[in-house]
Amino acid sequence: MTPKPPKGHFNILYFASAGSYTSKNVEALPAPLPLRKLFSTLEERYQGIRASVLDHSLVTINLAYADVPDDKAPEDKDEIVIQEGDEVAIIPPVSSG
């Protein structure tokens, strides 16, 4: 099992090419984090990951699909915020067979 994230953090899982890009399967990032800021937060840590991986990947929070809003969108009180203890996953498409 994935270790529980430390206090004030959420876990992020990197599948397929996301894992190769970050050289990690999982890491803990500081929570709370608005979902719309997820991609820019990752881009800061892994330069180029947005174009190579994130833009065509799907994102889940706690095993359910989540639609990532444009990060230039204005703050919205109803927006999805990743909370402490959540499990976020980056899932790029796989094509081979």
């Binding site: 190769s20 330069q47 498409p93 796989v94 067979g97």
Partner: protein, 464 residues
């Protein structure tokens, strides 16, 4: 339910076989059928009715490789009445560790014929139809329209988008799986099939609803390049057959009429199954994750409201799948003096004309471990780019990228990779980081990589 006055292409979904399957024809099973299918017929939920639906069903398997082989075995074994198989390739030795429907004795045979030979041995009752060709926008509608359910067992994004679009247009359920290296994915799409343009949240998504954009070609790796573990792709193919059998036995493949009330069981959220197989931790827990997906996307290019996708359009080349999946990436364009052919590098080295230099090999370490040019140092491309990015952000010196013993600032660097693309990008990256010392140090790409080395220098080189 949303009203939609457009014409729906239900004509394709109401073939005689589909109606028979829906009603579950009431004929007797033959003695052979009874014997052969007895163990699955007594499973709760299957019964004779389910078995007859399978016998009356027509399944199309696109791709007779790592997914298609295991999938086809269980589809044939379960007694699906008509099984079509599409694949344009021939059997090669390197397929056999995972493509278990082929055989050493059938190397060189078309994959379709090889697999059907195997399936006939397993179960001679189904009708097998072979399509020894690749699926194209031109032949896709004619082939897919003949079937009740489609299984995507292919190996490239362009075909995946084409298959999904055709399944939307022809109202076919699609069981899609994919696998590379150590991970696999499985998802049931467009099931129960619903006409294009109906969107109110409770209809099943298509491939484009889940994956709107293909990954850039540079980040795509094939099984030929990245490798694949047999049991990983096998697991996904078997699971794919399981989903297909379930859909057909319970008649979920019948296109839904707009006016029909939807039974509760059909409303379950589609699930994306992810299987991760960790070679590094042999005793860890099995990693399966079932992710809940959303429904049909209103703005989806293929199935959403106002979609302009049509059968005629696809046939005429609109959309252009190849172009959609090969968005040009910034290819380095090196001048001739920064490139050397594998043969010229070898000749110069043999004659002692090469000065002392560094030879960077940017292949993955598994490839490197199988064989390399004498004196080469392995710096895998992915790691090199990561390190370069962190140096650009101000973390460390650019010489950290080079092996320690080569500290002289004018020692030339040669870069070789697998097929000659990564090496060009590496040369560009090293120059950007100033490692050419304003032109004092030469940084040179070995054209065509280790593939050219094998072809032009050393035919016995173990190239994969």
């Amino acid at each position: 339910m949303e009203e939609d006055t457009r014409d729906h292409p239900f004509a394709y979904g109401t073939a005689a076989s589909t109606l028979a399957a829906r009603n579950g024809s009431s004929r007797r099973l033959t003695d052979d059928e009874f014997d052969r299918y007895s163990r699955q017929m007594i499973v709760p939920g299957m019964g004779k009715e389910g078995q007859l639906r399978l016998i009356n069903s027509r399944v199309l398997i696109i791709g007779a490789g790592g997914l298609g082989c295991p999938a086809a075995q269980y589809i044939a074994g379960a007694g699906i009445g008509t099984i079509g198989i599409v694949d344009g390739d021939v059997v090669e030795t390197s397929n056999l560790h995972r493509q278990i429907g082929h055989a050493t004795s059938r190397i060189g045979m078309t994959k379709v014929d090889s697999l059907i030979t195997h399936l006939r041995g397993l179960n001679p009752l189904p009708t097998y139809i072979s399509y020894p060709t690749h699926l194209t926008p031109q032949n896709a509608a004619d082939i897919i329209s003949q079937y009740d359910l489609v299984m995507d067992c292919t190996d490239n994004p362009a075909t995946r988008y084409l298959i999904s679009d055709m399944c939307v247009l022809l109202c076919k359920p699609l069981v899609s799986a994919a696998s590379v290296q150590k991970s696999g994915q499985l998802i049931v799409l467009n099931c129960p099939p619903t006409a294009q343009g109906l969107v109110d949240g409770k209809y099943a998504p298509c491939y484009r609803c889940c994956f709107r954009k293909p990954p850039p070609p540079s980040s795509m790796v094939s099984c030929g390049e990245a490798g694949i573990m047999g049991p990983v792709v096998g697991m996904m193919g078997v699971a794919q057959a399981g989903e297909a059998i379930k859909i057909l036995a319970s008649a979920l493949h019948i296109p839904r009429q707009v006016t029909e009330d939807v039974p509760e069981t059909n409303l379950q959220q589609p699930t994306l199954l992810i299987y991760t197989y960790d070679l590094e931790s042999a005793v860890g827990p099995y990693s399966f994750r079932a992710l809940k997906m959303g429904g049909r996307r209103k703005s989806c290019f293929a199935c959403g409201a106002g979609s302009t996708l049509t059968l005629e359009g696809v046939k005429a080349g609109n959309p252009n799948y190849e172009q959609f999946c090969s968005i040009p990436t910034s290819k380095a364009n090196l001048p001739p003096e920064e490139r050397i052919t594998a043969a010229a590098y070898h000749a110069a080295k043999e004659k002692g004309e090469l000065p002392e230099h560094i030879l960077l090999d940017t292949r993955e370490k598994e490839h490197f471990s199988l064989g390399s040019i004498e004196g080469a140092v392995n710096v895998p491309f992915g790691k090199l780019l990561m390190k370069a990015a962190s140096i650009k952000r101000g973390g460390g010196s650019s010489t950290d990228l080079l092996p320690i013993e080569s500290s002289k600032p004018d020692t030339p660097i040669f870069v070789v990779c697998r097929t000659g693309l990564d090496s060009q990008e590496t040369v560009e990256t090293l120059k950007e980081l100033g490692l050419d010392n304003g032109g004092k140090r030469k940084i040179v790409d070995v054209v065509g990589g280790m593939r050219a080395w094998k072809q032009d220098v050393d035919p016995s080189f173990p190239f994969i």
